[in-house]
């Protein structure tokens, strides 16, 4: 038995032609987070602390779809969500519908540790964040120009998109395969 960690920055239709300016910042963040998490585990930090530490770092990277850089709803807003879980105890915490909390994963951990509940959402989650004194930011902090453009294109195509379905400059947006008529994926 030994320590181990794995992390992801999202999955989807990532084109192999992804230009270096889109690819390299993400790979650099993965490298930085891997080093951060490995060092923490090597120093004897608990797994729960390490996953929170790494996800906070990923949330702060505007190139990934979480925290700063979150994609936009049809209304042009951000609604962030996060979850944390500890294996040995099955303790867990989750949040949804956040628009001002800088690091949703840390609020999820507070739900786990400070409440008798598992899941807080929207106004209740935001109120809990204020009570706990976690860092908040103006909602505009989380919105990037790239994601404004992605929403514009998704609306034009009348599509709901998962991570990395954005078009490259000068190219048409890649299309998901048509969904079956009884599949409500497109409406969420």
């Amino acid at each position: 038995m030994g320590w181990a960690l794995a992390l992801h920055g999202g999955a989807g239709d990532i084109p192999r032609t992804l230009p270096p300016e889109s690819r390299e910042p993400r790979l650099a963040t993965l490298r930085r987070c891997l080093d951060l998490g490995s060092a923490a585990l090597r120093d004897g930090r608990a797994a729960l602390d390490v996953v929170e530490l790494v996800v906070r770092e990923l949330e702060d990277c505007p190139h990934f779809n979480a925290g700063r850089g979150s994609v936009l709803t049809a209304e042009g807003t951000v609604e962030m969500e996060a979850c944390v879980m500890e294996g040995a105890t099955l303790r867990c915490g989750a949040v949804s519908g956040l628009s001002t909390v800088a690091n949703a994963v840390s609020l999820a951990r507070l739900v786990m540790e400070k409440t008798p509940h598992i899941y807080l959402a929207f106004d209740g989650a935001e109120a809990f964040a204020r009570d706990q004194g976690v860092e908040t930011r103006d909602p505009s902090h989380f919105i990037t120009e790239n994601n404004i453009e992605r929403l514009r294109q998704a609306k034009a195509a009348n599509r709901v998109q998962i991570d990395y379905t954005q078009p490259l400059k000068g190219q048409q947006a890649p299309q998901d395969p048509p969904a079956p008529v009884d599949d409500n994926c497109q409406t969420g």
Binding site: D13, L34, V55, T73, C83, E86, A104
Partner: protein
């Protein structure tokens, strides 16, 4: 969606996932990330964080299914993760997982998944596509 799973030197497992959801999602939509057992799950055997199409991940209870195959069918982590991902619609799911024994799985049926892993014995991997 971003996520991290870890097992520490004492064998404690944990997982965390965070997301902004889908581009152009309806306001008020909840995805798989905060739904315990769908996009995120950990028990005494493994820790899992998933990414992809939330509705598919919820329908297939992806994260809990990986743990359940280990718990009830005695599968090793990699087999369990591969089986669960293979059972979901193509192009819909990716996940990272670690077991209590320090085994790592990074499985996806999408074109790519930004991912990385490291283990105590010095193995490291960073990737996007299936090579």
């Amino acid at each position: 969606t971003v996520g991290c799973v870890a097992v520490d030197a004492a064998g404690n497992l944990a997982t965390a996932t965070s997301t902004g959801g889908l581009v152009n999602k309806m306001a008020g939509r909840i995805g798989d990330t905060p739904v315990v057992g769908a996009g995120t799950y950990a028990n005494a055997l493994c820790a899992v964080s998933a990414t992809g199409k939330g509705e598919a991940i919820i329908r297939h209870t992806v994260a809990r299914d990986v743990a359940a195959l280990m718990e009830h069918a005695g599968m090793p982590l990699r087999d369990a993760a591969a089986r669960v991902v293979a059972a979901t619609p193509r192009g819909a799911v990716g996940l990272v997982a670690v077991s209590r024994a320090g085994e790592v799985s990074m499985a996806h049926n999408t074109t790519g998944m930004f991912r990385a892993c490291a283990t105590e014995d010095g193995h490291e991997e960073i990737g996007i596509w299936t090579d």
